[in-house]
């Protein structure tokens, strides 16, 4: 998605350790006009009319998912990072390892909001090692729901997450795939 790649080049900041900061428009301050273009593009990539639910994970996926949902005419459910390890039987749960925060989260979705009748599009801002996305897939499968695919804003193509999820037969559409990046040279995108 050219608009997004241009924005990453203009306002993204590459830091040591393969860190790409896009907090001025994507995941701290949020450019809602850009979000709308992202939402339209996800709809174009996933025209399937049977998609009836969008699933994301707190916190930075929520805004993108909500604006995107307007183009799908469906509700959003967000997976919550649970405070407690005592998960009762009323939720689907999985554990997700966060490399950024160097800890493991329990992530939950109430059983009321996912069922075998659902055809779910998963939306998230980043795909890197794939832990968050695999966790969300685990939750959808646990509910017996169908997975229409995953819409990702930025994929770090040099990490293994994208290949790993695609190898499981899940359709992953990333609006920008960064093949390499450097502090001085910025991002090189896959086309």
């Amino acid at each position: 998605m050219q608009l997004l790649e241009e924005r990453i080049n203009k306002d993204g900041i590459v830091k040591e350790g393969n860190v790409l900061k896009v907090d001025s428009f994507l995941n701290h301050q949020m450019d809602i006009e850009l979000y709308n273009e992202i939402g339209k593009e996800f709809r174009r990539l996933f025209p399937d009319k049977s998609i009836n639910k969008i699933l994301t994970i707190e916190a930075s996926g929520i805004g993108i998912a909500c604006v995107t949902a307007q183009y799908f005419g469906c509700p959003v459910v967000f997976a919550k990072k649970a405070q407690s390890v005592n998960i009762d039987g009323e939720v689907y749960s999985t554990s997700i390892e966060s490399f950024t925060h160097k800890r493991t989260y329990n992530v939950i979705v109430s059983k009321k909001f996912l069922s075998p009748d659902d055809n779910v599009l998963i939306i998230d801002d980043f795909l890197a090692n794939g832990c968050a996305l695999l966790g969300l897939i685990d939750i959808v499968k646990g509910a017996g729901a169908s997975i229409a695919g995953a819409g990702i804003v930025i994929e770090k193509g040099f990490q293994k997450g994208g290949d790993l999820v695609r190898s499981k037969g899940i359709r992953v559409e990333s609006l920008a795939i960064v093949d390499s990046m450097s502090v001085d040279g910025g991002c090189i995108f896959r086309h």
Copy 2:
């Protein structure tokens, strides 16, 4: 807001301990059509054209803020719950006591995204004891920015937060104010 009150009566669940669960449409599963009506109503209540930024707090404020921002033509910034107490000088920070989770959070906003030039509308899903809202006000004031007001989806009118914030001269507009509630009788709204 009649549509919202009707929805709370239809799908909200009152539990012991003054708990109002609205997770089927507001803060776990999110009804984006309702969010759009909420956003339009916030625009009607805050027509001030100088509002140039919406501030909210993760996680459940983000979706409402993003959909609402479309009616204001401005970006959203969300305050993050910090993992660490080591806050560097590049952020505005405050601490917020959470009664729900029985702990105190450090909440941060990057200094890049709030300045004295900003006229900020604060958006959140709930106002009860006011701790979260007071924390966000503290952050806006720390940045030297102006506060246009606070738009709240549901205010628990029987708790002290609304009075406390209004007594500081901050305009608070709540789309539904619950004056009392009970497990058997549901919610009584203020009009």
